[in-house]
């Protein structure tokens, strides 16, 4: 038996997936979830072979939920309508179902999934998240996991970001949060008029800067409102000057 999880905030939307699944006796629904929070828990607990996922859900959306999972499972999206998401699906998802969909369309998606190797699907999910995170709706906040708790950080609350091995440390007034992403990902996603990569390992929220001092030979250091001192490289100084209009 292969394990399925359905994550959708509308009960009837879950029922229709369950109904269509009845034909596929080798598949078993191990859990149904109302939102992304339940979804994260259920995926970690069951390690499903396939997830049916809605995009628009309470508090965190389907993409943000997937970002919180270390090794996201293969996903078939089921959504009503979302211009930007559809672009992401077409490029990278196993398949996506536009609600309402019929049994034939559903079976086709299942076939596509069973034909794909799990390795390539994992790679695809990562690419999908990259594309989806470029959506204008997604770059206003960052969803992180802090232990077992999920935290939503509005980007304007971010002081600065620091590279830390495979992670990025996101500093806010409540301390820092870790996110399993690269610096270049954030450089691309965040508004370049507000967030400047001042250094190979640092991205600064320019609204937090109080002053920029010279430092050692030809380097600089940015002093933030919080008192933090952020290294600024020579090219980073050029970028900062440009954005700050100096």
């Amino acid at each position: 038996m292969r394990k399925i999880i359905i994550i959708d905030d509308e009960p009837l939307a879950r029922s229709i997936v369950k109904e269509y699944l009845q034909k596929h006796t080798e598949l078993e629904v191990v859990e149904e979830c109302n939102d992304g929070f339940e979804g994260v828990k259920a995926i970690q607990q069951h390690q499903p072979d396939l997830v049916f996922l809605d995009i628009q859900m309470p508090k965190i959306n389907g993409f943000e939920m997937l970002e919180l999972i270390e090794q996201p499972p293969p996903v078939i999206f089921a959504t009503a309508f979302d211009d930007y998401a559809i672009k992401a699906f077409e490029a990278h998802a196993i398949d996506y179902l536009l609600k309402p969909f019929n049994q034939d369309r559903f079976d086709k998606a299942i076939r596509k999934w069973s034909e794909q190797s799990s390795r390539s699907s994992e790679k695809n999910t990562q690419d999908l998240l990259e594309t989806a995170s470029l959506s204008p709706a997604q770059n206003q906040r960052i969803v992180v996991k802090n232990g077992s708790k999920i935290k939503i950080i509005p980007v304007h609350d971010v002081f600065y970001l620091e590279a830390a091995d495979d992670y990025v440390k996101i500093y806010t007034k409540e301390g820092y949060f870790l996110k399993n992403k690269t610096m270049s990902h954030f450089e691309q996603v965040l508004d370049e008029q507000q967030f400047v990569r001042s250094h190979r390992s640092y991205i600064i929220n320019i609204h937090q800067i109080t002053r920029i001092d010279p430092y050692e030979k030809d380097g600089h250091v940015a002093i933030l409102k919080s008192g933090a001192q952020i290294p600024v490289s020579r090219s980073g100084y050029g970028k900062l000057k440009e954005v700050l209009g100096l």
Partner: protein, 346 residues
Amino acid sequence: MSASPFSVKQFRIFFISCWLTLMLDQGIVLFWFGLPWQDAILDSAISNGFLLSICLVMMNIYRYYLPRRERFLNLFGVCLIFSSLWLIICKWLLRLVVGFYATSPETLYRSLPIRVSMALLILGCVSMVSALWYNTAEQKENELRKTDAEKLTKEAELFKLRQQLQPHFLFNSLNSINALIGMKPDEARKMVQQLSDFLRGTIRKEENQFITFSEELEYLKLYLEIEKVRFGYRLKTEIDVSDDTPRWRVPSLLLQPLMENAIKFGLYGTTGEVVIGLRATIADKHLVVAVMNPFDPDMQMPPGTGFGLESVKRRLFLLFGRNDLVEINKTQNSFVVIFRIPETHA
């Protein structure tokens, strides 16, 4: 092309009396200066009659061609040309017809500077009056066109604002119906009916700009029924409407986008059960409606949400020309939109 000033009766009377006075006046003056009364009448009739016809020609020209404001000096040039022309022809005619001038032409020559000044003055006056008249008429026409255009855009905008329908809502509702068809066909049929009634409401035509509050409430309940089927136990509503509100006239489809907004914020901004509240009373000759939804202050809603609120603000402004009809109260854990509808006698 505008109507000529002669279309106004008062102007016709004024114009004719002016000319009669002028003719009489010139006749008397000439008689005074020693002309026989027949010759004085003949002179006055010829010179003024001829001037009058030039006047009418000029007025007719202005009707089709009027110099722009900055070229009003051209009017003076036109008057100068016409009065000189008039003088030359008049001099020749008077010498030919009036017996007195045949014997003493120097009397005629001496009067020429006075004659041409008078003609210039009269033609100048007529030109000024025509210019003013036609300019004002043109301005009025422009204004009328402008208000017409504004009214059209306003109507189109209002229509569009009322037509706003979230595709999410439509497709998700159809998906719910799809699920119900297999499990509970009766409920599927009921929901198809509700959805159809709801959609019919959104394409209602212009003449139903205003409806009674109770009609709007019925429509809203239709919408809420559909949403409750979609979201199941999570969505609860509390509607509290005072007895004096049902007859109040409100713009149609105003409440629903606000409710949609409240539901969206409530359901997507929090987890668990969500209570959406609606309260309506009459206060200070206004219908006061409050729509409440729970709100999580930690949540950062993605941009683009809250269109409903903007569209309601815009509509109320277009309908009543007031910006103070919508108010937002954000507390620790609730979000309240309060809007007021003035009394209308439509």
